[in-house]
Point group: C2
Chain length 308, copies 2
């Protein structure tokens, strides 16, 4: 049984006429006759009663017709479904990202991606690198933006570095003006506001302070990104955030760069090594990498270092 045999069969059943059916399906009449005959032989029963000028379905033909129609319709549906997926008119990308990047990088990138491919559903999972890595491995995420180095490196994940971004200190416009540029050691003893456990920014800042030989003093700790910025704005202390987050946070905040070497983090894109991500995810990856390159040139970000 072949798809075109079923198509020819349906055409004859509709036209009640071999020659006209052959025209409808764009084959010669003998080819169509032959295929119908082959189908009849395979099924072991005549499908049409061929009386001159009065082609009729036999009972076997009547039984076959609805099934043939359904099979052809299903095949058509299959073609369209898959082609729509392939042409990004439909689909889904599940992207994981840490809160700092959800606030900083993602809005523009997702906006650009959505404008180009409005049929693709975007699911963003906001979480710490640890959670994101687990979900990637489990297959519940297609892609994740992560901060390197990964908390649990694994050969099952492939990471591509996107860019490095400097961290800056933010403070309330009403607070005492910190020295410019600020060294890490200048943070010693100053009141600070810190993210909850799980933020890689927390670990990064804490490690830097300890490397400088002091334990930072937190007036408030534990909020999410927006809350921390709010606390800073309210004068509760200094905050350490990525450049892009500080830039987006708007007024009421003073941004102070750190003295060299400063603090820097590497942002990368991670996906499973064993399966190729869906087409839509690969395109999102392209958009992300292009945006990263743009940011490197226009916003003073640093290009990504060697791949780890």
């Amino acid at each position: 049984m072949q798809f075109q045999q079923l198509a020819y069969f349906v055409a004859v059943a509709d036209a009640r006429h071999f020659t006209r059916a052959a025209e409808a399906v764009h084959v010669s009449q003998p080819s169509l006759s032959q295929q119908i005959r082959t189908l009849e032989n395979e099924l072991g029963a005549p499908l049409f009663s061929r009386a001159r000028g009065n082609i009729t379905l036999t009972d076997a033909g009547e039984a076959l017709l609805p099934l043939a129609r359904r099979i052809l319709a299903d095949a058509d549906t299959a073609r369209h479904e898959v082609m729509e997926l392939a042409q990004l008119r439909r689909g889904r990308v599940r992207l994981g990202a840490p809160p700092s990047l959800c606030t900083g990088l993602l809005p523009d990138v997702l906006r650009e991606f959505h404008d180009r491919h409005p049929g693709i559903q975007l699911l963003v999972e906001e979480g710490g690198s640890h959670d994101l890595v687990r979900e990637l491995a489990r297959g519940s995420l297609d892609l994740a933006l992560v901060v390197l180095p990964l908390p649990t490196p694994s050969p099952a994940l492939t990471t591509v570095e996107l860019f490095q971004e400097d961290l800056v200190v933010v403070s309330s416009v009403d607070a005492e003006v910190p020295p410019t540029p600020l060294r890490i050691s200048d943070l010693a003893g100053r009141p600070m506001v810190m993210f909850r456990h799980g933020y890689d920014l927390r670990d990064l800042t804490l490690a830097a302070c300890r490397a400088a030989g002091f334990e930072p003093y937190f007036t408030v700790e534990g909020g999410e990104m927006d809350a921390v910025l709010g606390f800073v704005r309210a004068g509760l202390g200094l905050g350490v955030v990525p450049t892009m987050v500080a830039a987006r946070a708007g007024g009421e905040l003073r941004v102070t760069p750190l003295a060299r070497p400063g603090l820097r983090r590497t942002v990368a894109l991670a996906h499973r090594s064993d399966v190729a991500p869906p087409r839509a995810a690969r395109v999102l990856q392209d958009v992300l990498m292009t945006a990263a390159r743009r940011a490197v040139t226009s916003d003073g970000f640093r290009p990504a270092g060697p791949v780890t």
Copy 2:
């Protein structure tokens, strides 16, 4: 898109392994790989992510899988449905017959047919030749037993004569013994019981009486076959019925043959000329014709004359 491509695709999706899938569908592994690739090219999207030892469906593959399964299942159903029809394990025959044959010939024939093909549904339409011919032409009957000549002959119907049967006179065992053999003219003035309008037996008998120069006298007229036999048994008059009906009517009835040339009717099988009857109908036709031949030799029926 080909059926075997879908089958191979499903096999790989199930086995998650090209080589084992190839064994499952009994083709070489390269053939299977090639067909999968052809399918992927046609659909414009990869269906599997081929990582060593970890073959996985892509999103396109996931979309295709349920449809592929359904298409294959439908194709299988189609094959079985048609083959069951062809092998007479299922099906239907719609047979029309006049009441006299429903009473006489049909019970044994239908019993024999049903024993041979228990899956075939038998629908019997009891009616006068006129109605039966109309229903045949309309397509609501597959076959009909009719008495020739047809009331409305038409080239759209093909008739095959089965046999000729003699008519006999039945009377109550309590009534006056009619002369043996009886001539048609002996019926003049004798009380008779007659069928309702529409029975070809009525027309046949009336015509014979008129040809013999008299108008018959009916004490009761208008009943169906069983009723008429009951009236005869009750002594209301003589009846004229086919030999086989008289034979089946059981006791309480005296059967008197008619003197030569007597009365005779030709029973034929009719079907539409333009469409071949369903397979089951053709087989029933065979059984009927065989039974007719048997009746000709064993029950003293006469063979059918030349085909009209």
